[in-house]
């Protein structure tokens, strides 16, 4: 199955979940309805698509410009040797989406990173906690509203008066 046929097959099976198909510098991109993310991923993981690897998950902040956050998933199929990029737009006010924990094991850490950096909530995540910054960090560092080089308040050491 070539990349175009694959996209067609995905649309045929998950038509209502797919909002759009596009091409960016030769990469296939599917835009999903955010409510359908988990269902689509679960379907893509199984035959006939066999995207067995969740290669990457990240987020892009378009909050100021377009009022949304965009989640970007990269899947890889070992059997077909193709990658697929999936996007889902979340509202800037309260960005939240269903977790992928349970489908892929690395989803737990990847989602913690997106939560830490962008403040996107993953519903059903068992341990949604900051991962690269620390407990008590104020704000979400990769949001565009977070200034570069902002100083964080100092955390008192144990025993400090």
């Amino acid at each position: 199955m070539g990349q175009e046929n694959l996209i067609e097959a995905i649309r045929a099976k998950l038509g209502d979940a797919v909002e759009g198909v596009s091409d960016s510098f030769g990469d296939a991109v599917l835009t999903l309805r955010p409510a359908a993310v988990r269902a689509v991923m679960a379907a893509l993981r199984e035959a006939p698509f066999e995207y067995a690897v969740l290669l990457d998950l990240t987020c892009v902040d378009f909050a100021a410009a377009e009022g949304r956050f965009e989640l970007v998933y990269h899947l890889y199929s070992l059997t077909r040797n193709v990658r697929l990029r999936l996007k889902a737009s979340l509202p800037a006010a309260d960005p939240s989406v269903e977790t992928l924990v349970g489908l892929w094991k690395n989803a737990e850490w990847l989602e913690r990173e997106v939560f830490d950096m962008f403040g996107v909530r993953f519903e059903g995540h068992p341990y949604l906690k900051r991962i690269l910054t620390y407990e008590g960090f104020e704000g979400h560092a990769l949001r565009k509203s977070y200034p570069w080089r902002l100083e964080q308040p100092r955390i008192p050491l144990k025993g400090d008066v």
Partner: protein, 443 residues
């Protein structure tokens, strides 16, 4: 009061909690592993990362595409050239640049040198932590010879910034063949010696065979790539799966393991180094000798500048070989010239009006490299696995968003599962065989 971590919350009242790291000799970078113990047995584990987080992605959003290259050196600091390559090739995919043949060959050469030094560093540290200090010294010695080759050409051991958008910064050092031959010979010898010391060593086998094993399904589920994934028997290698540069024209094998345990990760890396040395020899044979710089009278730089104030000077300028761009006439073979994506030669900047203008058009804020709008993902095979860059461009001279897919983020995510139910002593070889690199893990 800090909230409890999961392991603190779930710990049984009779068991002991122990911190390994963040400051611990076996924790390579800085990583904290919290262990719940029953005697020496690990009941539960939790890894805490982020101690080396320095806002790489945020910084890149505030730097121009040209400026941020130096930050990519500092991701996987054992193989910086592969990070350079990953970033640069992502940009080239976006810009639609064709890189000259010679530059591609040099890039392969540099990638493979970096891959060998990456594997050497990983195995050296792993062996040392298992008590084989001799192996550590041997491997560090071999790495020095490899880094000599890199240093002669790039001028730095780690912070190279050598692979540039469109090509490479400069041609190879005139004596690169000699240093490469030495490095390959010495590394082969070290690999042979280390094989003899470790392959059938019962102490080493006892701590690695069957320890830290992962199934194929779990390795895929954790998003593992690189030698760690191949140790489970899945032959996924970006160089074979989606060949970049000239890898499809070179002959090499992808070694795989069987059980996905520490020993297989060691053995896959050892065999991969052998393949990389093969690749180095092939590439060295393909790179033609550089054409000699044209002879003839030259003038001093100061004189050239003085003359250029009155008239256009055609004479060649006597420049120190240490200066970037001294080999202007070789540049067309080293960097793509169809688009203004490389730093213009300095001598033009100082002696001609056009050169000065193109210099400013390259460096002025809002000018320089401006890829079209859109987003792009590209990956190369790094020492640890698939090093991928995801870049969102809004058409300006700075990335709107730059994300690194760090291979060891996914590896370390599996650590908790691998050490659960085993002994404290198993943490060290398991963690060592993963090759966690703080710079790329925490970004």
């Amino acid at each position: 009061m800090e909230p409890l971590t999961r392991i603190q919350r779930d710990a049984r009242p009779e068991s002991m909690l122990l911190n390994m790291g963040p400051s611990h000799p076996a924790m390579h970078g800085t990583l904290r592993i919290m262990l719940e113990l029953d005697g020496e047995k690990i009941l539960n584990a939790e890894a805490e990362i982020g101690y080396l987080h320095r806002g790489f992605e945020k910084t890149c959003e505030n730097k121009t595409y040209f400026n941020l290259l130096i930050y990519t050196d500092r991701l996987n600091y054992v193989s910086p050239l592969i990070n350079n390559l990953g970033y640069v090739m992502t940009m080239e995919k976006m810009l639609g640049v064709t890189v000259p043949e010679r530059a591609q060959l040099i890039r392969v050469l540099m990638s493979e040198l970096s891959r060998v030094s990456d594997h050497l560093t990983c195995l050296a540290a792993m062996a040392m932590e298992n008590g084989a200090f001799t192996v550590f010294l041997y491997m560090m010695k071999a790495r020095e010879f490899l880094w000599d080759v890199i240093e002669f050409t790039t001028g730095a051991r780690m912070t190279t910034s050598y692979i540039r958008i469109g090509g490479v910064r400069a041609d190879l050092h005139p004596d690169w063949r000699g240093s490469l031959t030495t490095a390959i010979r010495e590394t082969r010898q070290v690999l042979k010696d280390v094989s003899g010391l470790l392959d059938k060593n019962s102490i080493f086998l006892g701590r690695t065979r069957g320890v830290g094993a992962i199934s194929r399904e779990d390795a895929l589920s954790y998003g593992w790539t690189g030698p760690c994934l191949r140790s489970t028997g899945i032959p996924y290698d970006v160089r074979k799966a989606s060949p970049y540069l000239i890898y499809d024209r070179l002959s090499f094998e992808v070694p795989v393991g069987e059980f996905g345990d520490n020993y297989d990760r060691y053995s896959v890396r050892m065999r991969e180094m052998g393949q990389s040395l093969r690749l180095l020899e092939q590439v060295a044979g393909l790179i033609p000798d550089a054409a000699p710089l044209s002879a003839g009278p030259t003038i001093e730089p100061s004189e050239a500048i003085a003359r250029s104030r009155r008239q256009r000077t055609g004479e060649r300028i006597r420049l120190s070989p240490n200066l970037e761009g001294y080999e202007k006439e070789r540049l067309p073979g080293l960097v793509a010239t169809d688009k203004p994506i490389a730093v213009p030669p300095k001598e033009d900047t100082y002696t001609t009006m056009e050169g000065l203008i193109s210099h400013f058009l390259f460096f002025m804020s809002g000018k320089g490299i401006r890829p079209p709008k859109g987003d792009v993902y590209f990956s190369v095979e790094g020492g640890n696995g698939e090093v991928g860059f995801y870049i969102v461009s809004d058409g300006t001279d700075r990335p709107y968003r730059l994300h690194l897919r760090a291979p060891c983020f996914h590896l370390v995510a599996a650590l908790e599962q691998l050490i659960k139910g085993r002994l404290i002593a198993d943490v060290v070889p398991t963690f060592g065989s993963m090759n966690m690199i703080g710079g790329e893990l925490d970004r």
